[in-house]
């Protein structure tokens, strides 16, 4: 039998196994910690969401989020300015993109985004009594937290950009004509100089040589030569005005004499008026002050208005050009006795690509670009028209640039 020994009580060990401190772990500490974690996470979420909201609000384009049914879920503060009614929360994409049909998978950017494709389209809005606006639309699919596809749509108002693009197109057109003209002009100028020079020499001979003067056979020569000289100089004048169009507008602002511009324009269009038996009357205010402006741009405007006036007249008629100053602004009025504009169209004539000409005859950019150029000058352009009687366009330009 082994030696009998009582167990030496290992107090610290027993304390560990059965002591006061050994007890069931409660959830209180954990709950407290969880609450703290949640609060921290909540704060984080709050700051994150306000951060996102700030970003969202700082976007200068309209931003609309469509849910997977194609109804507006969110919009930023820009949307109410652009499309107050169409982007109301809950409205369908139909309101904005295809008012006529319920579904338009082929065209509606929202529906395409919901089908998982990013799309970009442009569209224009026309409201009666308001100017046309151009929008670029980008629609991208995004997932919501349930994994369903939503559409994120950016609406960017690109009217300004689009108009300046159009203006550029028009200016390019003008300047390419000008470039052609410039090439031709130099080629024609030299022979014209010779013609005019020799005609003047002949005229001097006629004047200085008595026997030639008195020769009855040469009686008409002097008159003929004078005509040759005058017409040669008229040609040179036309060529010079053409050359002035060949200088491309770079938007630079300088002193502009509106009368001078109008005369240059008239020189270009006068031949057409002769051909069409149209009488052009000028009544230019010679005391007109110079204004600050972009000469090339304004030249385009007046050319456009003059051409429109001439083209509106079938057969014989009259075009009247009047300039006037009222101390604050200079106005130029171009009126015609042409076909006039029907009242229904008065709102639309400023729209780009609006034209009454046959296909291929005109782009319909003229008035839109003109409107834009005058607006940039801080001026205004107005029309009064009676159908069948004629139209009157008035351009008003401030003397001092704003």
């Amino acid at each position: 039998m082994a030696e009998v020994k009582r167990t030496r009580i290992d107090e610290s060990n027993l304390e560990r196994l059965l002591g006061l401190d050994s007890s069931k772990i409660g959830f209180y500490a954990e709950v407290k910690q969880k609450i703290q974690e949640l609060e921290t996470a909540n704060l984080g979420l709050k700051s994150k969401s306000s951060e996102l909201q700030a970003v969202f609000d700082a976007i200068s384009d309209g931003v609309v989020v469509y849910d997977h049914h194609g109804n507006v879920q969110h919009r930023n503060h820009i949307c109410p300015r652009l499309f107050p009614a169409q982007t109301l929360v809950g409205r369908s994409c139909r309101a904005l993109f295809h008012p006529d049909t319920d579904h338009s998978p082929g065209q509606c950017p929202v529906e395409q985004a919901l089908a998982g494709e990013s799309t970009q389209i442009s569209f224009t809005t026309t409201h009666v009594g308001k100017e046309t606006r151009y929008f670029d639309v980008t629609a991208t699919p995004i997932d919501d937290h349930n994994g369903r596809t939503r559409a994120l749509v950016f609406l960017r108002d690109v009217t300004e950009k689009r108009l300046s693009e159009l203006q550029l197109m028009q200016a390019e057109k003008m300047s390419s004509i000008g470039m052609l003209a410039a090439g031709v002009a130099h080629e024609i100028n030299n022979p014209l100089n010779s013609v005019a020079g020799y005609a003047e020499a002949l005229l001097r001979r006629l004047r200085d040589t008595p026997e030639l003067t008195e020769d009855p056979r040469l009686a008409d020569f002097r008159k003929y030569l004078e005509v040759i000289i005058r017409e040669s100089y008229r040609c040179k004048g036309i060529i010079d005005s053409l050359l002035s169009f060949s200088r491309k507008s770079d938007g630079s602002v300088g002193d502009v004499d509106v009368n001078l511009l109008l005369r240059e324009v008239l020189q270009l269009v006068i031949h057409k008026s002769r051909f069409d038996r149209i009488e052009i009357q000028e009544s230019l205010d010679e005391g007109l002050p110079l204004i600050k402006g972009d000469a090339a741009g304004l030249r385009q405007v007046f050319l456009n208005l003059a051409m429109n006036a001439l083209q509106s007249i079938e057969g014989a008629g009259q075009v009247e050009i009047i300039t006037h100053c009222n101390g604050e602004s200079v106005s130029a009025t171009i009126s015609d006795t042409g076909c006039g504009i029907p009242p229904a169209m008065l709102d639309q004539i400023w729209d780009p690509f609006f034209t009454t000409k046959d296909v291929g005859k005109g782009l319909g950019l003229g008035l839109a670009v003109s409107y834009n150029i005058i607006k940039k000058h801080g001026g205004e352009i107005r029309v009064e028209s009676t159908e069948g009687k004629g139209s009157k366009f008035t351009v008003r330009l401030p003397i001092c640039q704003r």
Binding site: T7, G19, K24
Partner: protein, 387 residues
């Protein structure tokens, strides 16, 4: 100084909320709901399912308006892999309260699952005391045998399938929130289990009574358990009268409360490695070892023997050496009458494994509170006597 009295200056007695009574299985649902659960993970075994008790529990849970997931992929002496499977299932199903219904195996499996779902890792990471750092999900344990004590204890015993040993996890955390005993469930307990589980309760009570950490608070319960077992064990095994079965269930509960707060001794220190190596019935192993260990302990607990003899149903006051005789004799008689196994050999233990088993027992936490010091040699001689 009297060395046998515990020198702890203070003591602590901790038990879960305890509900005991016939027909109370129908309270499982409301218990789970009281603990804040919405989806119950019910751990039980096929035997109880066949007996119809699982259906009773499921019905109670559904009537309480809770969802329930039933899990019974467990075997006696629950294995670490079974527990890990259960934990995965619990998490996958999103349960939030665990109910263990069954014997020690089902309840310990439920405890193991509870540990893993809140603390993660593998069950072997929690071996020893207080390795658990996070609170467990609410736990309701309903014993359906008359011996385990797992429903009030801070122990969970799981078998390590790789190393073939018992993993003893000890933490107040694995004590359940509610212990619910419905003695009716004993009616369907197979005969051999009545005996073996009751001997488990018997060994719990005796070891708790002898433990160096025993106090008057634990002794009360140990003695009460002993009186109930000695009064009802033989009758319960032979006649299966409901009253005796209920007494055994009560005894199991008292023994559980005692050993939870005073721990055990050499019987369990040796029984755990044997159960790990052979997958033998825990109660049977205890029945074999208990008389030998009592014999070994007696010299150092002489002053406790009279009370023990009274607890074992001996009517007259006895003292000193007479008490030791009485205790051993009563114990032997009771075990024989109940038909408990009396040798390790009969349980399939191989003699060549005994030294290894003795060595392993030294590492068991139960050895700490044994009243008499034992080294490897002492343990080996106990095993050989019990062989």
């Amino acid at each position: 100084m009297d060395q046998s009295k515990t020198t702890l200056h203070h003591c602590k007695f901790e038990v879960p909320e305890i509900i005991f009574g016939r027909g109370l299985l129908n309270q499982i649902g409301s218990c789970a709901r009281r603990l804040g659960g919405h989806k119950v993970f019910l751990v039980s075994d096929q035997g109880l399912f066949s007996a119809g008790w699982v259906d009773r529990a499921l019905k109670s849970i559904m009537e309480a308006g809770l969802e329930v997931i039933y899990f019974d992929h467990i075997t006696p002496n629950p294995k670490d892999v079974e527990v890990e499977e259960g934990a995965l299932e619990y998490i996958r199903q999103g349960c939030d309260v665990i109910v263990g219904l069954g014997g020690g195996s089902a309840m310990d499996a439920a405890k193991g699952i509870a540990i893993l779902v809140s603390n993660g890792g593998r069950i072997r990471d929690y071996v020893g005391s207080d390795r658990i750092i996070r609170p467990l999900p609410p736990l309701v344990l309903c014993p359906t045998t008359c011996g385990t004590g797992s429903d009030v204890s801070q122990f969970a015993i799981i078998n390590d399938t790789e190393r073939r040993c018992k993993l003893t996890i000890m933490s107040r955390c694995v004590a359940p929130d509610i212990s619910l005993t419905d003695p009716d469930t004993l009616e369907t307990l197979p005969d051999e289990y009545v005996c073996t589980t009751a001997t488990d309760a018997l060994s719990h009570a005796m070891e708790a009574f002898f433990s160096v950490a025993s106090t008057s608070l634990t002794d009360v319960h140990a003695i009460k358990a002993l009186r109930l077992v000695s009064a009802s064990l033989v009758n319960a095994v032979r006649e299966r009268t409901p009253g005796d079965l209920e007494n055994l269930a009560r005894a199991s509960l008292h023994a559980g409360m005692a050993f939870s707060n005073s721990l055990l001794g050499i019987v369990h220190a040796l029984a755990h490695p044997i159960g790990g190596l052979y997958d033998a019935n825990h109660g049977s192993i205890n029945a074999v070892l208990l008389p030998e260990v009592i014999k070994y302990d007696i010299p150092v607990v002489t002053e406790k023997l009279p009370e023990l003899a009274w607890g074992l149903g001996h009517r007259t006051e006895v003292g000193g050496s007479e008490a030791s005789e009485v205790v051993q004799e009563v114990l032997d008689t009771m075990l024989d009458a109940a038909g408990a196994p009396r040798s390790l050999k009969s349980l399939g233990v191989k003699r060549q494994d005994l030294p290894d088993l003795a060595r392993r027992a030294l590492d068991d936490v139960c050895i700490v509170t044994s009243p008499r010091q034992a080294d490897e040699r002492d343990l080996l001689s106990i095993l050989e006597k019990a062989y």
